[in-house]
Subunit: 219 residues, 4 copies
DNA sequence: AATGAATGAGCCTTCATTCAT
DNA sequence: GATGAATGAAGGCTCATTCAT
């Protein structure tokens, strides 16, 4: 199928590193899954750590390509752009379980940064965080200091990240019914965006529109 | 010094497991650090995994003991109790760097649950999450559905967790000056509590009081 | 029950050594089975090897006591005494599976002699072999040389031993029905005694009386 | 010298397993004796047990190759074929002391069967036992039941086996002079064959021809 | 006298890596 | 360029034994 051994190795390494971590994964296992010779990793990537870094890079690229941050028309209201941003983040975090190894692997890097982290931050996280800050700029008065804008951004990102990072714990704290009913990407995006906008005075308080929510659902 | 070998092993294992994870840590390394015989782990704990579980348990106990959730007077306004809750969480997350292995280890369990996670959730996380929900009950109308209350709770917890989980990434996105100036536990607690309360309509919008903030700082 | 720890250890060690051999058995296992402290073996017997030697000695003593070579009235025909001898050997070898650990352990010593073997030969095997030789003396002309008498004795003993030593192989070569039907102690004793006596001209040829056998069975 | 590491390992493992058994032997020891890396056994054989099974298989093959059961001309009298059979068995058991590890190892399997035993029985022992039964068929009336034929076969095999299995004990019961004089392979084969044939009525009683024996010896 | 705690040596196995081809 | 064979180092764990009490 895929004939470039480099790509085959990377594709095989991704899910394995994501599931077992750098230490837990073995080169043998990866080589077997990739259908290549046991010495190939050292041949193509030098050593295991280098392969790991490259795999993280690939994960980032695939994630950005598969779930790109949508082009946001400049005339779109900032509230809607914030909603789009949140929904995209959540999609990356908890959507598409069959390819979720990418976000899972990147999560590992965020939680325990290795050599692969710096690059991921500079080429992926910082640009998108700046994009988020630009959206917030339109929702905030000009004299709000920089660190406050950052922290609001972190608040939004943190809420999204939570459902990826603490997935296991969340599933212990809620019922399966609640999970399938109220913890979908759409619902969570709505909640998080609504909470942040409400905190900025740009939306009604959270909890005040539950009746309407129910009403909407009924429609 | 410490004479109980069990305790010495656990104390030595904590930072090592926290830093390198279960797979990355070796029993030899832990034994050397604890100054005990190489067979002691198997003697006292049966095997490595059991030691790991016990270490996670100890981490939870130490964390809960060092930074206990303060007793909250029933007559204290719910806003203040929410502020206390947030501040305590943040203290546990990012305070006391010399003992931060406990939270780091627990973070690992949250991110990648093992056998040790279930117990941690039941004995530590769920009770405190319920405490948070009770505080929110007082801040929300009665007809707000359960899942909304949960999600508001997760929003608050997620923001706190973020500064622990994404600590490395945050430090790449902000300057050291910003970190020491505006990312203290107090400031972050104020921000997060303010954001959540504002989103509930119980506090002025975030960003609206920056002038007062600057004023206070000047004093 | 048994209060002498030495005896308890020996009784526990017997079946374990018999089943797993010296290397395969562990002192922990023996101590647990005996219900004594893990250091008891070293305390009472010095080391594991010494315990093994003592266990072999005990096995010999128990075997001789439980299945003693019957007193043979001097007026009993030599043929009958030979039959008795053979039956006793077979009983020790393959009878009473619940207590057969003794013969099993002694078998190990015969096959791979250790320090415990010499004594077992002198105090147990040689006297009984001499007893066998005296029976044969009565069945053989005076001028048969000593080595022939020995070899006839070895032939008889070897046939008995075979069903213990090669028990596993025999059970693969015959059917379970054959085993329970024709490989009982009685049948085998009859066969072996008959074969030896026939070879000495003191009994009809083996295979010549099968009709009578069947006849007897029918009765 | 020998360049195939597999063969070197097997050759080194044979004597060690034969002497110390599966448990007693260590892979380190075998690797050192074979002059190969300590990981080679796992590399070539998977694990220690597999090496053991392969070593037993090799022992069987070498033994069969070194002392093959001779082709027996169909016109050769059954008595002579029985004599040949016995002599070959004894040669394998106690001949060629310098390569006796093969028979010793096989003895271990007979006495305490492991996973390697079944194969040894099916590919080696059963075919030759059947060969023996066919010889006996010619010496016995047709109406002798199957189990009697088997037991006569076991009687012959058991006598041969005895001198291997109980080698140590035999050497304690007889004098060195007797051993070198009357316990040679030839003499023992003659004795055992003679005893079995006599028991079938196909030869003069054992002990009746001692004079002729002495006479023959004198020639 | 007898034992619970503790230990050093050694076990088999797996690992990422190297090297001759 | 690419690989199958082979390896040194280290892994977790079990063992018989010791020693202070």
């Amino acid at each position: 199928m895929q004939q470039d051994p480099r790509v085959r190795i990377l594709s095989a390494a991704g899910p394995i590193f994501a599931e077992k971590g750098f230490e837990g994964a073995t080169v043998r296992e990866i080589c077997r899954a990739a259908g290549v010779n046991g010495a190939s990793i050292n041949y193509y990537f030098g050593d295991k750590e280098n392969l790991y870094v490259e795999t993280v890079r690939l994960a980032r690229q695939m994630r950005a390509a598969e779930v790109p941050m949508p082009d946001m028309a400049p005339d779109l209201p900032a509230e809607d752009r914030l909603r789009l941003f949140t929904r995209t983040m959540l999609r990356r975090m908890i959507g598409a379980p069959e390819t979720s190894w990418q976000s899972r692997l990147m999560m590992r890097e965020v939680v325990q940064p290795s050599r692969a982290c710096r690059q991921m931050v500079e080429e992926y996280i910082r640009p998108e965080f700046n994009q988020l800050l630009r959206i917030l700029d339109e929702l905030l008065p000009d004299d709000v200091p920089r660190h406050v804008r950052q922290q609001i951004g972190f608040s939004l990102v943190g809420q999204c990240l939570f459902y990826r990072v603490a997935r296991g714990v969340v599933s212990m704290l809620i019922t399966p019914d609640e999970a399938s009913e109220s913890y979908t990407i759409e619902r969570l995006a709505e909640h998080i965006t609504g909470l942040v906008l409400a905190s900025l005075g740009q939306a009604p308080p959270v909890g005040s529109n539950h009746a309407q929510e129910s009403l909407q659902e009924a429609v």
